[in-house]
Symmetry: C2
Subunit: 758 residues, 2 copies
């Protein structure tokens, strides 16, 4: 795999040391969410709705409670009722009433699998028996599953009080449309009038699940003094703490959350499901409670991303200059508002420098599990539509698809439709690298085709805390508050080692619990290496300053006479022979006698996350008799800013592409007429496995982000954005058939080919 | 119980909130050293020497290793050989060669119970069987148990290379005297010549064990990548980490130590015994290993404090002015150098303002378990002798014992024999409080007597780190790196709450593991509320500064316009109506948008620990027919500087007195002729139980220590210093018989009475 851009000015950054969590994980010693057991611990389980939409007439838990071995039973009545109120959490809105009602249905069930009660018992069998003894009387209601049906007049309403936001004047009557989002620049109708070619297309996508291998799991333990502990796998121990406090009406200081290792999240573990239930069961029983979802529960009751309908209209001159671009995005939110339609709108045309552009999005509730974030939330859906349409435009105009993109590419100074003016971005560099890559010129055989597509993610910064402690022997500890999902322990240790000037093997990276490290926002938004990394660098720089002060005391020179180089205090250039280098370990040994322990902490709200751009090349072969699509070759070119640990960056790119290919070819939620999910398992919900995929080549372009000390920009989300269009464009190249509906599974592809040839 | 001194200027300091760890402990939920279990965990056990002194001819572990279920066997050969080298650790010297040889005998066994091998097996029974299969061939050597026998010419030598330190010129031949300590002021012979009365007496004490209820226990887990974790109960997770790293030759960063709750330490858990063995066994087996000592092992193989011989000579004028004072202290060190004879020498006459004084101490090895620190190490032994002798002097001169002490009491400006000049001390205040206390004037019955004795401990400061984090809802976390032995969680939370101006219930105190908090020296030396408290106060003050800066941003005023009062930003007095108070919670809610998480860390090496002084009153009744001594009433008056949580301070005083009474009346190590301990259990080693003791009254005098922001001085150690002399003096008052040898058990008391009356 190739690395481009500058290198060599660093000693540690850009190298590929052994992963700090690698051996623990491959030897099975790493402790995930379900791996903790406590004395006297109970098993917690959830009773779930069999209906897609129903009023809860009554819940009788007395028989369950009376069963020997049952120690606690909770329903919505055991949780405080929370007023509807949008709180700003990290980077987005969060309605805690909805979160509470999603964790435990109150009054109505809104999707099949919606939790209605939970029990804790001394064994799994007793807990199962108790669930059966809970008597719930439902009054079934008409349900609605798909987004346009939910938007239609007369659709069954999920919420009586849901008034569409973002519409002026506000509607007087409730609907299933939670929000309208609109961004525009220039005059899009004038743009279409100036066009010589206008394409107008409609695309649809299905909900897909994050499909993390580890299901949701937690242990909660509430003490008789109200002090609570939670151990769980999540994308943020501080999120779990804050949400549980809110949902149970507890002070935040009464809850301590210890993060377990996490077996995949991809955005889907940025919410609580089991944790508040386990805590309520533990409070009632006075014993620790473990809860672990089955795979079926994960599918039925945790968030996939939206299914959507996207309408795109693009006008251009004959030489390929886009004069006007418009998109309408209709996203399923699931049972409660909150689809990623807004970031979808932001991402739709973000790769392009457009004078006239209009994007409108709708956030629409329907009787499905509430969606959760999924890697670059919303962007892959929008880009599937826009990048498919651009491919068709290139063919229509007889232009090379990369050349068309280059002609319209966003660059420094381009204003994005949602506000920002780009600076120091590397989109053009990814197009140039794609054009020059051997893959782009490689010959193709019969039934084979090549697709090109680009993608964007804005990436975020946010609040992070980090600490660097120097041990007595000169080794170091770096502590952060973010679960390590994509290699952040390695990158934190490497950045600290780079600043301290010591080998990375002498730095131990640790993920702290909520009580031992300051607040840190979620591991998400591709923010951790950027934002938490900035905090680590700041703390390490403070440590270096302190090391220089201590060295000055030991050497009896002024601190100004000291430089820090290669892990040692050395004389400044003004007087290079003044003293022999004093290494970190020698300073550490005397910390006690020069002022005490040497350590530093940084708490920041990081700004200036660099946006990420990628261009992907995909070769497919389509079996004309079965419609099966085989991915022959895949090259993902991405501006990664600066790769701290290139192997992890490549892994992120490969993982994102693999998920995008699954989304493109096979993954979908299939519902029956009653609104019941028919494929809640990995046999029927088909994620790509190793034998489905070629080795995915990751090409890292490095256009450093000047707002980060090492030039980092987020890398984890962009790679899932282009694959669906890249595959669709390749299928078109191979077959002459345009697929506008995901997934492009064999029956669909075969049907499209058959339609085109008959 | 009474509190004296100023109060009322604080809102939280000086109150008695519910203890943060109380409910966990009384409900049995608190996790002590033996309470963690990990999947696949093995049981580790130790093979111990049956000889007091022997050469190890050979150790054959092959049969043990071959036993099914045995996964690891280690002997000294599995540990790196460490050169003899005195390292300065915290406040004292530590010879890591000795520590290594104490954990696992190398070449020789030096006491009965000395570890020679350790095994890890899948069950306790298999581990026991494996111990029996280890074949050790010993060549027994002559042994020596008592201190003067060990000092005598021709005594069996424990170490061939032990040359007495502190003697000039250095001896040419080895001996059992590891060190001579000497302090003097003025001319003591001239002082005796100026005296009108000179008393010269000899006192002896027996080794006593700290008798913590929780035996030593740990779990160690070494990963295949060399990353190690240890969970254990100790007085310092950083001590365990550093010592294990040293003894196994590992970088400190490869070990993470998580402190368990601790069921008593009293100085005895300031060393490692099992932890390095468990870690070596885990490294060899690749599995976690749990080791827990039996009570018998605790007695045979962990450190009691020294038994000693103390010779005291005091000269005075007839009106009670001491003209010369001299003491010679001979302390058993156990098998390796390191008795607390130096602090014994420091403490012997520290209560008195003396012009001519000489103190000489000897640190003497003998075939007993290596001594460990025990509450005010060394001082109770010295004070038993000096305060007994002073009592006799008062009787000889016909003076009130308190008046004699007042006449000679150390006060501001007094130079102590070991160097410091006292400042802001409260010894005289304790004497005045004792004289005025109703106890001192209460009538006594037949066979009853009252004793008075004083005590001193210097207390220490040292390295500590603390963090204060503000949560999103305005609650707070305070993190420190010291195991909570005497209520430090409460005192840390209270000091933070006082500075932040919020209720203490909104502050959660946490003890961090070695990777999540910066270095902190041991919980010992009565340093934690003082030193770690200073770090907490400093961090909380930094947080307040940050809160004011954030409030300035929110209110759009300059930070100088803001004061912090009662947990809120309020307008400065210059412009009192400028804005409404902005409480901490409102500032916390907006932390993200005003710069990120609000938290602060302080790492300090605290100086200026205030010395502690106490005066105790004790009434006894002696049964003339059995010699049994009953404690009728006990009042302990102590300068505590400032009591942060008075109930905990009273508890420390009561606990110290109870241990001192046990030391005075019953506790002792009894050896047979072969150097084997005869009473290694609580049936034969008798600690006082509740029915042996009256309610001990703690009177707190508060002479604030100006070097601490709230005036704290250490309180945990002083209370064990006076009781032995107080009891001996009371027995003398009741019987007319002077007991100079501890313990003053019924047979000894009866014999003394019998001797005196026949």
């Amino acid at each position: 795999m190739a690395t481009m851009g500058t290198q060599g000015q660093f000693k540690v950054v850009g190298t590929r040391p052994v992963r700090p969590d690698g051996v623990e994980k491959v030897t099975g010693r790493a402790a995930f969410g379900a791996d903790l057991s406590l004395p006297g611990m109970l098993v917690g389980k959830v009773k779930r709705s069999p209906h897609a939409h129903a009023r809860i007439v009554s819940i009788d838990v007395e028989k369950a409670r009376a069963l020997p071995g049952v120690k606690a039973v909770v329903t919505a009545a055991d949780f405080p009722e929370i007023a509807s109120e949008e709180a700003f959490v990290g980077e987005g809105p969060m309605n805690f009433r909805d979160l509470s009602c999603n964790c435990m249905a109150r009054g109505k069930v809104l999707y099949e699998g919606h939790a209605v009660a939970a029990v804790a018992a001394t064994s799994s069998a007793i807990a199962d028996a108790a669930l059966d003894l809970i008597e719930v009387v439902y009054e079934p209601l008409p349900h609605v599953i798909d987004v346009e049906a939910a938007m239609a007049p007369g659709a069954p309403l999920l919420h009586d009080d849901l008034i569409t936001q973002g519409v002026d004047p506000a509607p007087r009557t409730p609907s299933n449309v939670a929000k309208r989002v609109h961004f525009s620049l220039g005059d899009v109708e004038a743009g279409f009038r100036a066009a010589q070619v206008v394409l107008e297309r409609r695309y649809t996508t299905k909900p897909v699940h994050q499909a993390y291998i580890e299901p949701h799991a937690c242990v909660a333990s509430a003490g008789a003094d109200g002090q609570c502990q939670i151990w769980c796998s999540s994308q943020g121990q501080f999120m779990v703490r804050a949400y549980c406090a809110k949902l149970l009406g507890l002070p935040i200081s009464s809850i301590r959350v210890t993060p377990a290792e996490i077996g995949g999240g991809f955005g889907g573990k940025t919410l609580v499901y089991l944790e508040p239930l386990a805590l309520a069961l533990s409070k009632q029983s006075g014993r620790p409670v473990k809860m672990v979802m089955t795979r079926e529960e994960v599918f039925r009751a945790t968030g996939p991303t939206s299914g959507a309908v996207v309408e795109v209209k693009i006008g251009a001159t004959r030489d390929g200059k886009i004069t006007g671009a418009q998109a309408v995005l209709k996203y399923q939110a699931g049972a409660f508002p909150g689809s990623p339609v807004q970031p979808g709108c932001m991402a739709a045309f973000a790769m392009y420098d457009l004078d006239n552009v209009s994007v409108t999005g709708y956030d629409v509730v329907c009787n499905r599990p509430k969606v959760a974030a999924y890697r670059a939330p919303g962007a892959p859906i929008a880009s599937f539509a826009v990048e498919s349409c651009l491919d068709e435009l290139a063919r229509t105009l007889g232009l090379d698809p990369i050349a068309l993109r280059e002609k319209n590419a966003a660059k420094d100074g381009t204003r994005a439709v949602y506000g920002p003016i780009w600076k120091d971005i590397g989109y053009v560099e990814t197009l140039q690298a794609a054009k020059k890559h051997a893959h782009y010129a490689a010959p193709l055989g019969p039934n084979q085709g090549r697709g090109v597509a680009s993608g964007f993610w804005f990436n975020i910064g946010g609040e992070s805390t980090a600490e660097v402690h120097i041990n007595e022997d000169g080794t170091a500890v770096v502590v952060s508050g973010n679960p390590d999902i994509g290699g952040s322990r390695a990158s934190m240790a490497m950045m600290a080692a780079e600043v301290l000037g010591i080998p990375v093997e002498r730095v131990r990276p640790i993920v702290g619990d909520t009580s031992s490290i300051g607040y840190s926002f979620l591991t998400g938004g591709s923010r951790v290496t950027f934002a938490t990394g900035m905090a680590v660098v700041q703390a390490a720089q403070e440590v270096v300053g302190e090391l220089k002060r201590r060295a000055a005391l030991i050497l009896d020179v002024s601190p100004e006479a000291i430089e820090w180089r290669d892990g040692a205090a050395v004389p400044s250039d003004a007087d290079p022979g003044r003293f022999a280098p004093l290494p970190l370990a020698a300073i550490a040994l005397k910390a006690g006698r020069t002022g005490g322990p040497i350590s530093a902490k940084a708490s920041i709200n990081a700004q200036g996350a660099g946006p990420g751009f990628a261009t992907h090349l995909c070769d497919v072969e389509v079996d004309p008799e079965t419609g099966q699509v085989k991915i022959l070759r895949y090259t993902a070119i991405q501006d990664v800013g600066r790769a701290i640990h290139p192997s992890y960056v490549e892994g992120q790119i490969q993982g994102g592409v693999a998920q995008g290919i699954g989304w493109a070819l096979n993954e979908e939620y299939i519902y029956d007429a009653n609104g019941r999910l028919e494929n809640p398992g990995f046999l029927d919900y088909r994620v790509p496995v190793a034998s489905d995929l070629p080795m995915i080549e990751a090409v890292m372009v490095e256009v450093p982000n000047p707002r980060h000390p090492f030039g980092v920009r987020g890398v984890g989300e962009v790679p899932i954005v282009p694959p669906m269009a890249a595959v669709a464009n390749a299928i078109h190249a191979a077959t002459g058939v345009r697929l506008a509906d995901l997934p492009m599974s064999p029956p669909r592809v075969l049907a499209a080919i058959t339609r085109a040839t008959t």
